[in-house]
Amino acid sequence: MCLGIPGEVVAVVDAERHLAKVDVAGVRRNVDVGLLDGAVAPGDWVLIHVGFAMARIDEGEARRALESLEAMGAAYAEEVEALRSSGAP
């Protein structure tokens, strides 16, 4: 929850409602990108908290963060499972 998870933008779903499809550790879901400065494009990496992108990050940082998160084991698994099972469109 308080732990941000990095994800890669794969598509802009609805620019007006600030929705982008983001790949988070292989799970794809819609994320609200309206709190970021400027538009996102496929290939951008963002730090996600509870379904919202809160910061832009570079790819290197994103990959490092993902690896540390994976190393966290159960906590990370729970967060990804939460994301997967949230059933968002």
Binding site: L35, D37, D58, E67, A74, A75, E78, A82, S85, A88
Partner: protein, 375 residues
């Protein structure tokens, strides 16, 4: 353990630890890491074991699950058990004990408690169930509060009237202040939180050096980030400086996320008082909905008991959260209180100091040796 890049490079770690050992040779230093994510990194990678004994780390209150007092869980359960309510919550909060049971046991008794990943998911449940009252149990620091704010703006714009928020959002600065003012607390500096700072930026921490004369270095979550931030704190003290510095420049900026701060201010205002587990009541430390959003405020729509409940006697989360004792010094640590059957909040969340130590603490020595930093 794999050390994939420069953030886990054992040689770099050795150099930093050597520098720290030299900087801390003539005194004893006590630094608090405010953020639960750092606590996790520290235990996971055995960082305390590679530091010289003259550098002590104290684990702070920066875990939003850990600081929610029992009375608020009782309030949540009371709302969840109101007929017709669908109560939505992040998974982390489900197992946090109230004075009698948790949200999962309320669910077992028949309450419609549903787990959601995002406040937007809770809003969607409300849209899909127009005849039911849907409540979102909002918790977290400035990392999650802007998401709740955006969700409330959307509920208002879309006129979703069967949706309310039970706000338990807290802010990061007041507990730091409370710790600085707590009697007998002797700290030499702070590791500033990482992800919260992506939102609030660096400015809010300036009072730490300016008013209290302590340095603060915002740090990332890799083991080397934490070690480097400790070296930066010691360097400041050695050079007689006392500043807010940013080790985590690859994510944190001076101004944070202005849009997120703007929606926060539009939707929330400071509560006069809020109780923190272990720290007691801290004034202006939490967020409540502004009067314009009264129609979406669960505390106004439902009968919330609001009874203050003392922490269980056996549980010493309060002392752990203030850094007075280490997790393993608690009487019930690892015996009556485990991640499977937590008594205190610090054992519930994976970012809590007790759960982190329970999961990784016993590996300390092994991990440090593998890292090549203590041979």
């Amino acid at each position: 353990m794999r050390f994939v890049d420069e953030y886990r490079d054992p040689a770099a770690a050795r150099l930093l630890v050597a520098a720290i050992t030299e900087l801390a040779a003539e005194d004893h230093f006590k630094f608090m890491e405010v953020c639960g994510g750092h606590t996790h990194t520290i235990y996971r990678h055995g960082i305390e074991r590679i530091l010289p004994p003259s550098v002590e780390l104290v684990h702070g209150p920066g875990c939003p699950v850990c600081v929610i007092p029992m009375g608020r869980i009782d309030d949540a359960i009371a709302v969840a058990e109101t007929p017709g309510v669908i109560f939505t919550s992040f998974g982390d909060m489900m197992r946090v004990p109230g004075s009698s049971g948790n949200l999962l046991s309320a669910k077992a008794r028949g309450a419609d408690v549903r787990f959601v990943y995002s406040p937007l998911d809770a809003l969607r449940v409300a849209v899909e169930n127009p005849r039911r009252q849907v409540v979102f149990f909002a918790v977290g620091f400035e990392t999650t509060a802007p998401s709740t704010a955006v969700t409330l703006l959307r509920a208002r714009d879309d006129a979703v009237t069967n949706f309310t928020v039970f706000s338990n959002h807290v802010t990061i600065v007041p507990p730091i202040k409370a710790i600085l003012e707590s009697p007998g607390m002797r700290l030499d500096g702070f590791l500033g939180p990482g992800h919260v700072s992506t939102v609030v930026g660096q400015r809010p921490y300036r009072f730490v050096p300016e008013v209290y004369g302590k340095p603060l270095v915002t740090a990332g979550f890799e083991p080397l980030d934490v070690v480097q931030a400790i070296a930066m704190l010691l360097t400041q003290l050695r050079e007689g400086r006392c500043e807010v510095e940013n080790q985590y420049t690859r994510c944190v900026t001076e101004d944070g996320n202005p849009r997120a701060l703007e929606v926060l201010a539009r939707v929330f205002e400071l509560r006069p008082h809020f109780e923190w587990r272990g720290l007691g009541f801290i004034s202006q430390s939490a967020l409540q909905l502004r009067p314009e959003f009264a129609d979406w405020d669960a505390e106004l729509r439902f009968a919330v008991p609001g009874v203050r409940v003392a922490d269980p006697k056996a549980c010493q989360c309060g002392e752990v959260l203030k850094g007075v004792i280490k997790p393993w010094q608690c009487k019930v640590f690892g015996t009556a209180c485990t991640p499977e059957t937590p008594i205190g909040t610090c054992m519930v969340s994976s970012e809590g100091a007790c759960a982190a130590y329970y999961n990784f603490g016993r590996l300390h020595g092994e991990v440090a040796v593998q890292a090549g930093t203590r041979t």
